[in-house]
Amino acid sequence: MASSTSYYFVIIGTKDNPLYEAEFGTFKQGGDGIPKFREEQRHMNQFIAHSSLDCIEDLQWASKEMYLKTVDKFNNTWVSCFLTGGNIKFLLVHDTRSDEPIRQFFADVYDLYCKTLMNPFYEVNMAIRSQSFDQKIKAAAKKYL
C-alpha cells in the first residue's frame, strides 16, 4: 500500500461491470492528489471492489440509507459504498477511515451521476466516458478527500 492515502473509485453497474474508474491521492495534509498505488495494487483494488459486492448484496436490505458506509475490509483497505436506487454502486477503496468526507464525496458523485443519466444518449449500465464528468469527479475528490 502506498505511503500516503490513495483512493480507488469505481462505479459498478448492475451486471458487475465497471462504468467508470478513477484513482486519486489525498489532498489533505499537503498531499498532491496523485495516487500512490503500486503496480500490483492495481489489480488488487479491482479484486477487492469486485469481491465487496457480495457484502453489499447482504447489507443493502438492512439499511434505509443509500450510503452504506464501510461495507468490507481486506487487510488494510476498506471499501465504502453508496448504492443508488437503480442498483448502481459507487465504491471507494481507501486505506484510512473517514466516514463523513466520503459521504459528502458520494453525494456529489450521485449528483453528477444523475445528471449523466439525464443525458438522452446515455443508457443505464453504459460506461461513462465524458471528459467533463471525469473532471468534476476529480474536483469533488479534491474538495473532500
Binding site: D16, P18, H43, H50
Partner: protein, 722 residues
C-alpha cells in the same frame, strides 16, 4: 469448474503398485525410468494415500487428533524380538494399529448412557519422548510478569514444527506435480481438491507437544512390556515401572496414569506353557491390567502364506515422516534394506486384539472412572454453593495476602515461575477432567468444565491456561452441534478466539498453538455452514496473518478460505447473500501463491475454480492479471481441451457442460494463448502485468484508451458508443 473426472485416484493405484512390486523391484528400475517411479512407491505407503473415507470427513480428523496418548515403555528384550522380525522396535510395530481400534468401542458419558464409537483411536508415544519434552526453564523465570512466562514456554509450542509441516507438504505436492507432468494429467481433481489441505491439517494436529496448559499429550496410560525371553520377568517389570515413574517428566504431568503390563511371547522359540505360567504370575502380582501377546520372531517375506504389509501410520508427526522419506531416499542408493515391509497375519491380528482389549477393558473404564470421580469430587464442589464461598473467600483473603505479603503462592495454586499447576491441584485436575471427557467425545461435559475452569485460570492470571481453555471451549461448543446463534457467535466464538490468539501470539509467541486453534475452529465453523462459514473465512484470514512467508501452508489456507466462502450459498435465484465473488478472489490469491511456489497444478486448479466468476469481467487489470496467471501456471482453458481432444480423438473427458464458462474471453485471446506443455518453461514469477501495461498510466486514461489498446471485449456497449 471441475473437470468431470472419472479417473481412478492416483493414490490407490500407487498403493497397488507398491503392493504388487516390493521395493527391490522398483529400485532396479530407477535407472531406466527416472525418479518418478521410485517416488511413486515412496509416497504410496505414506501420506499421499489418503483413505477415502477420511478425506470426506473433516470431523474424523479432528476426532482423531484429540485422542488418549499411551506411553510405551518396554524392556530391551521385547525390542530384540521385534528387530528379529525386521522392524525397528515394538513401539513402531504397534503404533499404526492404535490409529484405528478394531471394532466398536463403547464409552459411557456423564449422563450414564453409553455411546458407541466405530473409529476410536489412541496414540502411542515413547515414554522417553514424554520425558524429553521438558520446558527449557531459563533461570531468570520470574513470577508474574510476561517475561517469566515467556521463558518457561516449552520449545515445542513455538513454531518449529510448522516449517517442517510446510516442507513435508511441499514434498508431497512436488510429487503430485511430477505425476501430473508425466502425462497422468487427468488426475488433477484428486490431487488438488481438499485432500492436501486435510493432509496439512492432519500433520499439524499430529504430534501435540507436552505442555502444561493442556493434557492431551500427557499419557493416559503406560504400556509396560517384557518378553518371554526375560530371565527375571517380574523384577524387570518392577524396574520398568520404577524407571518409568522416575523418568524426568515435567512436573505438571500427572504420574498417576494406568499401567498396562504386556508379556510378549515368542511364538517361534519359546514354550507357550512356560509363558502362560508366567502370565498367571504376572496377573497375581500386577492385577488385571495384563495381556499376553503371541508374536513370531521370524522375519516374514512376501511369499509367506499369511503375509500382510506392515501398516503405515497416518498420524506420523511431520518431522518423523520427513526423516523417513529422506532415509528411504538414502536407502534406494545404498542397497542395505533391513526393514521388512511385511509381517505375519497372525501377528497383526494379535496386535489388534491386544490394543482392542487394552482400550476397551482397561483404558476406557479407567478414564470413565476418573472422570466420574473428578466430576464428583472437584467439579461439583467447585460449582456448588460451598465451593463458591470457598473460592470467593480464598480469593478475598488471597488478595489481601498479596498486598501484605509478597508471596502470591498462598492466593492460588498457580506456579508462575514454571507457568503451570501442580497435577494434584483442583485446577489441573479439572483441566484433565475436561480433556479426558473431550477425548471420550463427551463434548457437553467438556464444554461445561472448560467454561468453569476458564474463570479460575483467569483469576490466577494464568494466561496460557486461559487461552487453552478458551480454545477448547469453542471447539467443544462447536462439536456439541448445537445451533450457532448470532449471539453465540458474537459473545463466545469471536471473543474467545480473539483473546486466545492474542495470548498465544503476543504473550507466548506460540504460533503453533494459535494456528491449531484457528484452523480447527475454521473447519468446524465451515461445517456448520451458512453465515458461520463466513466467520470461518474471517478467522482463516486471521490465520494467514500468522505466517507472512509464501509457504505451502499459506497457499493451502488461502485456498481453504475460498472454500469457506464457497460454502455460503446465497438464497433465491440471484444467490443473494452468497459469497461467490469472495470465494473466487481467494482462489485467485491462492493461485498466485501457488505459482510463486512453483506448484502449477494447484494453481491451475484454483484458477479453474475461480474462473467462472471472472470470465466476462470488464475490469481491465483483473483480466490482465488473470491472463498472466494463466500463462504462468500453464493453465489450459477447458475450451482448449475440447479442441484438443476433438483433434486427437481420445476426448471423453472435458464434457460439454463446462464449455460455457470460458468461451467469451477465448475468442479475443486466441493469439496469446499458451500451449499446454510449452508453458511450464515460461515460468514468469514476478507479479507485474505484462509489458503492454505502461507503468505510469492512470486508471481513467487507460480506460479511455481501452478500445484501441487493450484486448478487452466491448460487445455490449461498443456499438452504442461509436
Amino acid at each position: 469448474m471441475a473437470l468431470p473426472l472419472d479417473a481412478p485416484p492416483r493414490a490407490r493405484s500407487a498403493m497397488s503398485t507398491s503392493k504388487a512390486s516390493p521395493m527391490y523391484n522398483l529400485r532396479s528400475s530407477i535407472a531406466s525410468t527416472g525418479s518418478t517411479t521410485s517416488l511413486t512407491s515412496l509416497f504410496a505407503g505414506t501420506g499421499a494415500s489418503l483413505p477415502r473415507d477420511i478425506v470426506d470427513d473433516i470431523k474424523s480428523v479432528i476426532h482423531h487428533a484429540f485422542v488418549p496418548h499411551i506411553a510405551v515403555h518396554v524392556a530391551e528384550d521385547v525390542n530384540e524380538i521385534v528387530r528379529e522380525k525386521g522392524l525397528p522396535d515394538f513401539y513402531q510395530l504397534i503404533r499404526p494399529y492404535g490409529e484405528k481400534v478394531q471394532g466398536r468401542i463403547t464409552a459411557r458419558d456423564s449422563q450414564g448412557s453409553s455411546v458407541p464409537f466405530e473409529d476410536f483411536a489412541v496414540r502411542f508415544v515413547r515414554m522417553t519422548d514424554v520425558a524429553t519434552q521438558k520446558p527449557n526453564r531459563n533461570g531468570n523465570a520470574k513470577n508474574g510478569d510476561w517475561g517469566g512466562a515467556n521463558a518457561s514456554m516449552p520449545e515445542a509450542m513455538n513454531s518449529e514444527e510448522l516449517p517442517l509441516v510446510d516442507e513435508l507438504l511441499d514434498l508431497h505436492l512436488s510429487h503430485a506435480e511430477e505425476l501430473i507432468d508425466t502425462n497422468l494429467t487427468t488426475e488433477t481433481e484428486h490431487h488438488t481438491g481438499q485432500a492436501y489441505y486435510l493432509l496439512y491439517l492432519r500433520k499439524l494436529l499430529s504430534g501435540f507437544p507436552v505442555t502444561s496448559h493442556e493434557t492431551f499429550a500427557h499419557p493416559v496410560a503406560c504400556l509396560i512390556a517384557i518378553s518371554s525371553r526375560n530371565p527375571s520377568p517380574i523384577d524387570t517389570l518392577r524396574q520398568l515401572y520404577k524407571s518409568g515413574a522416575e523418568m524426568d517428566v515435567p512436573n505438571y504431568v500427572n504420574k498417576e496414569y494406568l499401567r498396562y503390563y504386556v508379556l510378549v511371547h515368542d511364538e517361534d522359540k519359546d514354550d507357550i506353557l512356560k509363558s502362560t505360567a508366567l502370565f498367571e504370575q504376572m496377573k497375581r502380582h500386577f492385577g488385571l491390567h495384563c495381556h499376553l501377546i503371541r508374536l513370531r520372531s521370524s522375519m516374514c517375506i512376501v511369499s509367506d502364506e499369511d503375509s500382510v504389509a506392515v501398516a503405515k501410520s497416518q498420524w506420523l508427526p511431520a518431522s518423523e515422516e520427513l526423516a523417513e522419506l529422506h532415509s528411504h531416499q538414502a536407502e534406494e542408493e545404498i542397497d542395505g534394506d533391513i526393514t521388512s515391509r511385511f509381517m505375519h497375519g497372525s501377528d497383526e491380528s494379535a496386535i489388534k486384539t491386544m490394543i482392542r482389549e487394552m482400550v476397551a477393558q482397561s483404558v476406557i473404564p479407567f478414564m470413565e472412572r476418573n472422570i466420574a470421580s473428578w466430576n464428583d469430587q472437584i467439579l461439583s464442589r467447585r460449582k456448588g454453593i460451598g465451593g463458591r464461598v470457598l473460592s470467593f473467600s480464598r480469593r478475598f483473603l488471597g488478595a489481601s495476602a498479596t498486598r501484605s505479603a509478597t508471596n502470591s503462592a498462598t492466593a492460588s495454586n498457580f506456579d508462575a515461575a514454571t507457568n503451570s499447576y501442580e497435577p494434584m491441584t483442583p485446577e489441573a485436575q479439572m483441566r484433565k477432567l475436561a480433556d479426558w471427557a473431550f477425548m471420550l467425545r463427551d463434548w457437553k461435559l467438556a464444554y461445561d468444565v472448560y467454561n468453569t475452569i476458564r474463570t479460575d485460570f483467569n483469576n490466577d492470571k494464568a494466561w496460557l491456561h486461559v487461552a487453552g481453555a478458551q480454545e477448547m471451549t469453542i471447539i467443544s461448543l462447536l462439536l456439541t452441534g448445537q445451533p450457532i446463534t448470532p449471539k453465540i457467535r458474537a459473545d463466545t466464538i469471536d471473543v474467545y478466539l480473539d483473546a486466545a490468539c492474542y495470548s498465544y501470539v503476543t504473550r507466548f509467541r506460540a504460533f503453533y498453538a494459535a494456528l491449531r486453534c484457528l484452523l480447527v475452529t475454521v473447519e468446524l465453523l465451515r461445517l456448520a455452514g451458512g453465515s458461520s462459514a463466513e466467520l470461518a473465512a474471517k478467522w482463516g484470514i486471521k490465520a494467514l496473518d500468522l505466517n507472512i512467508k509464501p509457504t505451502v501452508g499459506r497457499a493451502l489456507i488461502s485456498q481453504r478460505i475460498g472454500d469457506c466462502y464457497a460454502v455460503r450459498q446465497g438464497a433465491g435465484s440471484g444467490g443473494w447473500g452468497g459469497r461467490r465473488r469472495k470465494a473466487a478472489l481467494w482462489h485467485i490469491l491462492a493461485a498466485e501463491t501457488w505459482i510463486r511456489l512453483g506448484k502449477f497444478a494447484q494453481a491451475r486448479h484454483c484458477i479453474d475454480v475461480a474462473m467462472p466468476k471472472y470470465s466476462s469481467t470488464e475490469f481491465v487489470y483483473i483480466r490482465r492479471f488473470l491472463d498472466q496467471l494463466k500463462l504462468d501456471s500453464g493453465h489450459v482453458s477447458l475450451l482448449d481441451l475440447k479442441i484438443d481432444t476433438n483433434v486427437s480423438g481420445n476426448g471423453e473427458k472435458a464434457g460439454g457442460v463446462d464449455g460455457e464458462e470460458g468461451e467469451e474471453e477465448e475468442d479475443d485471446h486466441e493469439a496469446d494463448k499458451p500451449k499446454f506443455d510449452g508453458k511450464r518453461k515460461s515460468i514468469l514469477i514476478p507479479q507485474t502485468p505484462n509489458g503492454d501495461a505502461p507503468g505510469t498510466m492512470t486508471m481513467d486514461a487507460g480506460y479511455d484508451d481501452a478500445p484501441s489498446t487493450s484486448p478487452k471485449p466491448r460487445k455490449k456497449e461498443g456499438p452504442s458508443n461509436y
